[in-house]
Amino acid sequence: MDPADRIGAEAIVLLALFADIHANRQAFTACLDFARARGAQRFICLGDYVGYGADPEWAVETVMGLVEQGAIAVRGNHDNAIGASAESMNAEAQAAIEWTRGRLSAPERRFLSELPLTREEDDRLYVHSEASQPERWRYVRSTADAGRSLLATHAHVTFCGHIHQPALYSISVTGKMTNFVPTSGVAVQLLQGRRWLAVLGSVGQPRDGDPAACFALFDTDSREITYCRVPYDVEGAARRIRENGLPPWLAERLIVGR
């Protein structure tokens, strides 16, 4: 069924989920346009709106606007570092955080610091890093990491980001795990008989070798998740980083997607 046909029905069915936007205006704009064109009715933002990229004010304002219209947003470690310390980050990330902090207004900084670490909705959990200890910002790098997150929640699907590489894990009733690298554009039904951890790729700084922006659509009716890759003006985003005197590697890595 075309998602547009179902808007009359009360329930919101098509979610668009964005992780690791990282102040990349060009990428986030392209993803939002793509999601709206596909009929997305609700937006879920999984953290790290700032850091690395050159348009943090725009990114935060955009997310604030979406939240006003009913979107859900959780806090990422870069958002957290704006109001706290960025000491645990690498030099480039730290430099970007220091720069970003000076760019954001007080209400924008407050918005970021007041975001929740997790949000639950129906049988879905939204979190930036993973579910077992969200405040420790651990990466889901392996099936074992995914298992730890899956055992920490009863949610049927956990959506997270943080690692900037798309992956899809599941755990069966007998505790057996599967892992999978999703194919962009191919819908995968998240079967009811097992529980799932959907790790999204990054909107604003993909690191899986494909420079195209990554986000996901989830149909709550058919329980199908589709990882989408959206080409965007990478050169434009890289130019903004260089123009603003941010570390050049942050521009270069956008072009190679690493």
Partner: protein, 490 residues
């Protein structure tokens, strides 16, 4: 919601349940009806109660994910799926007739009949693999035939879909499947190689033509592992009249290392469709198994090509296409044929697993009745085959990658299209003349082929020359060769 009890007369999601037609280890099958669907349906319900094999659940989940995505005459149509929250089921089209399992009493079958069966299965596998699915349980009881003749594959519970999570990947320490038919690489945990299905088809073909299973029936891990180093008895040792071409096919399917098997199901189907053109190797002549020294080397030094990274089924198929080149053998086509060879050479150079079929159409008069070849016609046929092979010889293709075909038809374009369709050709290369006059008179075979082909078509023209002063011919606007995208969707 209360647990649903399946019994005749009960209605589930609009389907009225009828009799139970099969009780298997993993699932039960019920005949069901729905008022808006006119043909017979089956509801498959997994056995999931306490103490049942956990494989039943996982297999069912795989089937539930894969079946609704397949659309092809070679798989049953899927109408609905219900999940474990209430009552897990899938509803599929009921294929009339019996599975090949019911033929086991007739073995060994006549060679020609077995070839026909294997060709139909290879064709079905070709379509399945194109949809990114590896069956992984090819055996007589998972194969049926439609009244129109096509093989239908059933039971996708052990299948692998290259674009979906593989729920079986870490589920069982022992590879799951039917022991006599399981490819050796499956024992090493490889689940993403479509050539595993070709091995299973080789087992079936061996069994159906000799009456003996090539690797016995042992289902212990030790018994199954023997196939990693021990080759089966060549069929000719079991049946003296075994045709060499058939042994060539069977033993190539049963190669231990998948890289030595046919690269794709469509290439296997091509060989089965043209047994007279099969390049016979030492395999065809073999009457004994490999010597023990070879077996020991395999066993203790490891013989398999080391496992690759994750393979993309689609990429593997795309790298092994069947290319058909249509040649006009008249004298005025010398230059064009040279241009065709250059184009074909470029294509084959980038695709070492591609195979080439050289076609020539012997045009029949529209009103001639004498279709039977006389002495002269026969010679003409052979002459053309020789000329086709001569044209191809500078390509220096291993004979196993090259075939020549003289087709007879009133309508050459239609005949080329039919050949492409029947043989799963992936790419047609065809020449077009420069001369507008000749093009007008001789019609547009290439245009028709390009417009109607089910695959990619490259139209090649001879090199352009500057028009002579005062020449009547207009300069051509078209490039010398161009690649047209698929003219119609598969």
């Amino acid at each position: 919601m209360a647990k649903f009890t399946v019994r005749p007369g009960v209605v589930l999601d609009g389907f009225t349940i009828g009799e139970c037609v099969h009780r298997g280890g993993m699932a039960t099958l019920w005949s069901v009806t729905r008022p808006d669907i006119a043909f017979p349906l089956l509801m498959k319900i997994p056995r999931v109660s306490e103490g049942e094999d956990p494989a039943a659940i996982v297999s069912f989940e795989m089937e539930q994910m894969i079946l609704p995505r397949l659309s092809d005459v070679h798989v049953p149509r899927c109408f609905a799926a219900g999940d474990f929250a209430r009552q897990a089921y899938v509803v599929i089209e009921r294929i009339p007739g019996k599975t090949l399992y019911h033929r086991l009493g007739d073995l060994p079958l006549p060679y020609e009949e077995a070839r026909d069966i294997a060709l139909k299965i290879a064709t079905a596998l070709c379509e399945l693999h194109r949809q990114n699915v590896i069956h992984h349980d090819i055996k007589p009881s998972s194969i049926l035939f439609r009244p129109s003749g096509e093989a239908v594959l059933i039971d996708f519970g052990l299948s692998h879909h290259n674009q979906l999570p593989d729920l079986l990947q870490e589920e069982f320490r022992v590879p799951y499947g039917t022991a006599p038919y399981m490819a050796p690489e499956r024992l090493l945990g490889v689940r993403d190689d479509p050539r595993s299905d070709l091995f299973s088809l080789g087992v079936l073909l061996y069994f159906f033509t000799t009456g003996v299973r090539p690797f016995g029936e042992s289902d212990t891990m030790a018994g199954m592992r023997r196939r990693l180093w021990r080759d089966p008895y060549p069929p000719r040792q079991l049946r003296k009249d075994y045709p060499p071409w058939l042994q060539e096919i069977v033993l190539r399917c049963l190669e231990i290392d998948p890289v030595w098997r046919y690269p794709t199901a469509s290439q296997l189907a091509f060989e089965l469709a043209h047994p007279d053109q099969i390049k016979l190797t030492a395999r065809a002549e073999r009457i004994k198994r490999d010597p023990l020294t070879t077996v020991w080397r395999r066993r203790f030094n490891g013989n398999m090509t080391p496992p690759r990274g994750k393979s993309a089924v689609a990429a593997q198929l795309a790298a092994s296409p069947i290319v058909a080149v249509a040649l006009d053998l008249t004298e005025e086509s010398v230059e064009l044929n040279e241009a065709l060879r250059i184009t074909v050479e470029r294509i084959l150079k980038t695709l070492p697993a591609a195979r080439l079929a050289c076609l020539n159409v012997l045009k029949l008069g529209r009103v001639t009745i004498d279709r039977t070849l006389d002495e002269e016609g026969n010679n003409k046929h052979v002459d053309r085959l020789v000329t086709l092979k001569h044209w191809a010889s500078p390509l220096k293709l291993d004979e196993g990658r090259l075939t020549a075909h003289v087709l007879e038809a009133v309508d050459p374009a239609g005949e080329i299209l039919e050949f492409a369709e029947a043989n799963h050709v992936d790419h047609i290369v065809i020449g077009a003349r420069q001369s507008s006059l000749a093009r007008k008179l001789l019609g547009s075979t290439s245009a028709k082929v390009a417009a109607e082909a089910p695959c990619t078509v490259t139209v090649v023209r001879p090199p352009r020359r500057a028009p002579m002063h005062g020449a009547v011919e207009k300069p051509q606007n078209e490039p010398d060769d161009r690649t047209l995208p698929s003219a119609q969707a598969g």
